[in-house]
Amino acid sequence: MTPLLEIKNLKTRFYTQDGVVRAVNDVSYTMDSGEILGVVGESGCGKSVHALSMMQLIPYPPGKITNGEVWLDGQDLLTLNEEEMQKVRGRDIAMIFQDPMTSLNPVFTIGFQITEALLLHNDMTKREAKDRAGELLELVGIPGAKDSLDDFPHQFSGGMRQRAMIAMGLSCEPKLLIADEPTTALDVTIQAQIIDLVKKLQEELGMAIMWITHDLGVVAELAHTINVMYAGSIIETGQIHNIYKETKHPYTIGLLGSLPRLDDAPGTELVSIPGLPPDLLALPEGCPFAARCEYRIEKCLIEKPPLVGINGKDHSVACWRWEEIAGIGSK
């Protein structure tokens, strides 16, 4: 079976006054249809930029995709021009954004905005679109969905707005839904509701979901596979149990180690990874994590480790010493 999404050597650069920001560096991976992929990493590691690059929505200038292929269902998105991309966006890939407070247009009603998205890609009348918008709002669990159509975004709470955004994203039944930190701006109980909702919708509608987050707890609940990104590169990828149980990369080990745990003894201090992520303006030659890594050897500073498969397709890691480190992570 051919994968739904195949990204090959994607590179995105921002040409700023201070120099070239290397935001996404040679990212390659595949996604099957119906898969939930979690993309994890700290702020500024290129998670969002790589997703926006796929949709060709990075601000240009200064941003530019310099290399790579993004195959979605047998079509290389990066060869399409803006007109063709406008047809793909929304119909094949939809996106949900981080801040539900600002991602709905304040001057239009919720119903208008969902209807608009529906009318763009479907051949239906306004009446039908409005009915469908009502159904969608019901699907995402907004109480009194039909009446809410005439509400303005400011009349919705944060969680309701994010639900409305999800309804908008689902409106044309995309093959791939990109959720860019959709729960970051919400409080924890609403977070849990949204995660359950997305899980349920995924089972019902069967689309693939890319869930971008810095919250390892959220993806653990949701994702089938995980990409861990660091400084614009994928450093570890694999099935969820492989990542959590057989962690190989020292960065991922550090990330998991820095999570607070319920079974920690009271007074246990949280572990943090020393140092800061590298400046994307001047990436080191070797492994981007080398400067902060306690296992680094000389080779790490000279040559960037490739992503190698450990367990076939199920688990890959970009580290020279993964075999030696492996034992520590599983502890």
Partner: protein, 409 residues
């Protein structure tokens, strides 16, 4: 302890709230301000009197002449000497000033609306396009249109020098080709060479019939134009060029430029409107552009893009309604400014043609009689100008406070 009867209590559902529209809110704030109410009253009075006098009170300025009533002071009762009532007195040709002031209002209103309309339309379109395309990738069609227009403008310059239209065609075609084949040979020297050569030849050969020096100038111009068109121009370039042109217009003192334009077009109220309108374009262009820039990076624009909406739709449906409030305020203030400018042009004899009642022209006609004591011939048109300008300014201030309460200090 009191018995609680649950049926007596109704639960307030906070999620279901009364609809309060943005405009309703703004109206409430506007009407609650004294100065805004005063401004609104003056503006309504002004518009009402101007419109009604134009449609229901006939006045033929060319036939209005009565030397026997020359420069009479205001009178409210009929006397033997003056058989008619002139509440504002009469001017040097014996014309009733009250009547002329009221009818002059129609001209001021027209100037205001047409001039601001011109500035708002051109300025608004320039501002929207430059602001939007500064960070958004253009589609092929949009690029072709843009390059075609650039080519057309360059061709006009060349065609004007050589007095032939062929350059217009050559450059427009070059522009269209550059827009269409953007990706071919992009940034390569050969592309620059081909376009430069085509531009130089296309411009110089037809001009050669006019003389060698014209051909040389056109050739150099054509070369430069060709090289310019061959560059991979993007929205930022377009924006830069447009805004620098706006800066150029803005660098002239407004009245001076308006006088220059009127001198070029010839006097007349219509020409005056165009002149005042053109002078106002950069103000609106800059305002609109800055408002667009503040909105275009909002997430809802990204969200609109991500569901696949076209650029035209995003500009009209998502950006325009969100930038309306500063533009409404500026438009109201702009009306006052346009009325003032029209009066200034009229005073200098460049606006309305004499018998036409126009406040500025009336002032210009009568100030010489001020020394002989005819204060009324100057006072009333002057008051009319002052009041209408004050009214629009007060209303504009009120609107700004009403539409953007965050700005209030």
């Amino acid at each position: 302890m009191a018995q609680i009867n649950p049926e007596e209590f109704t639960v307030t559902d906070f999620a279901v709230r009364e609809h309060r529209s943005l405009w309703g809110d703004a109206w409430g704030r506007l009407i609650s301000s004294n100065t805004a109410r005063l401004g609104m009253f003056i503006v309504i009075l002004f518009v009402f009197s101007a419109t009604f006098s134009h449609y229901f009170w006939e006045y033929e300025p060319k036939k209005d002449l009565d030397y026997s009533l020359k420069l009479k002071a205001p009178n409210l009762i009929v006397t033997e000497e003056i058989p008619s009532i002139h509440p504002f007195g009469t001017d040097k040709l014996g014309r009733d000033i009250f009547r002329r002031v009221v009818h002059g209002g129609w001209n001021s209103l027209r100037v205001g609306i047409v001039a601001v309309g011109i500035s708002l339309f051109f300025g608004g379109v320039i501002g929207l396009l430059t602001g939007f395309y500064e960070t958004v990738i253009m589609t092929t069609i949009e690029r072709i249109v843009l390059f075609g227009i650039t080519g057309f403008l360059l061709g006009m310059l060349s065609a004007w020098i050589s007095n032939q239209l062929i350059q217009l065609v050559v450059f427009t075609l070059l522009g269209l080709a550059a827009g269409y084949y953007k990706d071919i040979l992009e940034g390569k020297l050969s592309r620059v060479g081909i376009f430069g050569l085509l531009g130089a030849l296309g411009s110089a050969i037809p001009a050669f019939f006019m003389g060698a020096s014209v051909a040389l100038i056109c050739g150099i111009l054509g070369l430069l134009s060709g090289v310019l068109l061959s560059m991979a121009l993007d929205g930022r370039f377009f924006s830069n060029v447009m805004m620098r042109i706006m800066d150029m217009i803005l660098s002239f003192p407004g009245y001076l430029l308006a006088i220059a334009i009127v001198a070029f077009l010839g006097p007349g109220l219509g020409k005056g409107m165009i002149a005042i309108g053109v002078v106002g374009i950069p103000v609106y262009a800059r305002l609109t552009r800055s408002a667009v820039l503040s909105v275009v990076h909002k997430e809802y624009i990204l969200a609109a893009q991500s569901v696949g909406e076209s650029h035209g739709r995003i500009i009209i449906r998502h950006i325009t309604p969100n930038i309306l409030s500063p533009i409404i305020v500026q438009t109201t203030m702009g009306l006052a400014n346009a009325i003032l400018s029209a009066a200034a042009l009229g005073f200098l004899g460049l606006g309305a043609i004499p018998p036409e009642p126009e406040w500025g022209a009336m002032l210009g006609d009568s100030y010489r009689y001020l020394t002989s004591g005819a204060w009324w011939a100057v006072l009333y048109p002057g008051l009319a100008i002052m009041l209408s300008v004050l009214g629009f300014n007060l209303l504009g201030d009120g609107l700004r406070d009403a539409l953007d309460p965050k700005l209030r200090t």
